[in-house]
Amino acid sequence: MKKLLTALACALLLMALAVCACADGQEITVYRTNEPTTLDRVAATIDEAGKFILWDASEPLFRIEEGATVLSGAESYSYDEATMTYTFTLRDNKWQDGVKVTAQDYLYSFQRMVDPKNAYGYISDIYCIVNAEDIYAGKMDVSELGVSAPDEKTLVIQLNEITPAFLEVVPLYPQRQDFVEAAGDAYGIDVDKFISCGPFKLTAWEHNSYLTLEKNDQYWDADNVKLDKVTVLITNDAEAQYSAMLNGTLDYCRFTSSNYINTFLNDDRFQVEDAVLPTLTFVLFNGNDDLLKNAKIRQALSLAIDREFFVEAMYEGIYPPAYGLLSSAIGINGVALRDVAEEPVKALAEANPDPKALFIEGLTELGMDPDPSKITLTFSISSGATTDDTIALYQAMWGETLGVNVVADVSEWASFWSDCKAGDFQIGTLAWSGEVDISFLFNLFLTDSAQMPCFTYSSEFDELVIKANKSMDADERLALYAQAEKIMMADLAAIAPVCYRVQKDVLNSKIKGWDFNVFSTAGHRHVYLDD
């Protein structure tokens, strides 16, 4: 028995030593919270984790780096406005087994995307390609798609409408026909059922535990890829991530709770960066309401929100206050709308220093009793952890500044949202996330889209947005969206922006070349460790 114990103790000690003798070098460990469902970029079930792996293991024609679209798999491209045709010239890239990546491989992935058999889920993103919609509906053959590969290095894509965000939104990834067909249904679900052509190649995939990516020597830009290995752990437990970050198992982690962040802020082994999210928390006014149909009333309510105070009280000041529709994460090709246009509610506040006077003006215009204390507003909110605090804050802000009474109507999200959609509310609060395509949030407020039940629509706003959506000139688009934003947020005050969101990215302090932009598709191509 004693011998057995001694042996056991020795074995444990050896194991412990083996663990500590970790290899240094250009290797990092990151994580995802769930297992990729597939690495087949055009499968119906492709998820964020799968896309994340593909940034490293595949080579899109373009990548989004620091918010701008940069050439990656394509060496150059041209766009002909008259025929709405993109022509891409490919680089001399190779698959991990040494076979050339050709235009045919990119064409093949487009053909699979529109093939009804594959039931690709994000299909509406590529309806802008000629015949894509009809092929997907089974009305036409795949061969009639407006994509062609006249030679090995040239890919031509023909669009049926002007799509300014084409390069950012459409997934331009290659897939190799012989490989995909050999793997059949199992393509992209295991390490031996996937072939890489990106900066890294997939070398191991232990489902629900980890994936490893190692430097791909066949990659066209391999000389500039500095990392030798990226390990992606699958872990969805915040405590486990915290422990793993502290002892150096993970080199990167993302936290939202300040409890965790403070540990890292005071430790020089780590760097903590804010990454601004494209999300806006806002107050939604029902423009059909007898009181809220007046623009001055809405403006006064918007101005009476003390946003600095709100973010300090609710989010310990981590989230930035919002005075516009778009956070600084959203823009066109690396230029954020916030870089060129001031947030409209700021100017509105300067023009109207006294919200209460504005509110009374609105009441008079409506022919109502000009005493705000006789007004009771119903504030709808979906139930969550911070619901009570939020209600108390709005009651305080509107109560003190405007002198109105606020009662709350709390329900769970599904019924809250269906009430809003039906127009059965007065004032509500919610958050919505934008996408890499700048037009996404604007389109929600178009009269015809009926996606955002603010019921304060404007033909002027619609015209500006539609014109911007069809313009290929980035400067002109930004200017148009800025005007539209001003109408929506200041002139009409259809909604009141409250705060944007940020996430805290915690990194090993040796890591350099990290892209914190939330829309980044750079992968770990430029990342390296520096002592």
């Binding site: 597939t38 119906a44 039931a119 889920g121 629900n208 980890y210 486990a240 002892n247």
Partner: protein, 310 residues
């Protein structure tokens, strides 16, 4: 004996069939289907293509017949809907192995140490070892495995970095999960063993054995242990089955590629083939472990007869 075992195995297939049928219809009655768990803005055309691909557009009883046909004619459980291309049978085979590497070892350790400690506690009744073990047993039963896992992870990977935090591959990766998972069984067996040993040592045949002049250790090994281990054996069966169902938390904390996370995702995503596959697997394990326990009964206590064979 052999006849009895064969009969039990035959029964097992009936149980499997019943469980499968009930599960199949139950899961089709809950709201939601695999598509709702996927992309939000699916075009109508995609939905049509998808329902057709997995036969979800047919009435439930037809789907059930198709499913049975698959099992009996091809021996297949179908393909996961959430993870297309992954065959349910392959997933079960591969990942149950990982789960059992952790779980079975944990139960084995818990059983052996629990039996030893329980006996010890009973023999030293109301003395210090008994009290200490009593506290440990209560902790083991009442502290949730999630807390235990998190605390162990912090202590042994951050405070004293002896073991890897996350992942799978080396034996060192298995130490902490096994430790965490063995704690609850260990506590349970200690309690069971203590009370049954207390019962046995007051029996006349123990006094008899002592009177014969047997040494203390002989009495314990040949008379006390053998007679008092039966209650612990009884719960060993369910415990083994729990290893596969209850390992989800530990698997998630330590990033172990086990079956637990597949089962949970399958239920959440309404991945019908995977749910049925897991349910069948757990039923089979449960019924089999009950059979093994029944056989162990006979080996340990010859007074017990399996069948009515004389």
């Amino acid at each position: 004996m052999l006849k009895y075992i064969l009969k039990r195995i035959l029964y097992m297939f009936f149980v499997l069939l019943i469980v499968t049928t009930i599960t199949f219809f139950l899961m089709h009655f809950i709201p939601g289907d695999p598509l709702t768990a996927m992309v939000q803005k699916l075009p109508e055309q995609t939905k049509i293509n998808y329902y057709a691909k997995y036969g979800l557009d047919k009435p439930v009883y037809i789907q059930y017949l198709v499913f049975l046909k698959g099992i009996f004619t091809q021996g297949t459980l179908g393909e996961s809907i959430r993870f297309p291309g992954r065959n349910v049978m392959d997933v079960l085979q591969k990942y149950s192995g990982f789960s059992s590497e952790i779980g079975l070892v944990a139960v084995a350790i818990g059983f052996v140490i629990g039996v030893i400690l329980g006996t010890l506690a009973a023999l030293k009744q109301n003395k210090l070892p008994d009290r200490v073990l009593g506290v440990i047993a209560i902790l083991g039963i009442s502290v949730p495995v999630y807390i235990l896992g998190t605390v162990f992870q912090y202590l042994f990977t951050v405070k004293w970095p002896l073991f890897p935090t996350l992942g799978w591959g080396t034996p060192a990766h298995k130490v902490l999960p096994i430790l965490c998972m063995s704690f609850a069984p260990l506590a349970t067996y200690t309690r069971y063993m203590r009370s049954s040993v207390l019962d046995v040592i007051n029996q006349d045949y123990i006094t008899m054995a002592e009177a014969k002049g047997l040494s203390f250790s002989q009495v314990v090994r040949h008379h006390v242990l053998r007679n008092s281990i039966l209650p612990s054996l009884t719960i060993l069966g369910p415990n083994v089955a729990d290893v596969f169902t209850g390992s989800f938390v530990i698997e998630s904390i330590f990033s172990i590629p086990g079956l637990g996370s597949y089962y949970i995702t399958a239920v959440n995503d309404r991945d019908f083939p995977m749910i049925i596959g897991c349910a069948m697997f757990y039923t089979a394990i449960y019924v089999l472990s009950l059979l093994v326990v029944d056989i162990l009964y006979v080996i340990i206590d010859p007074r017990i007869r399996l069948a009515q064979d004389k």
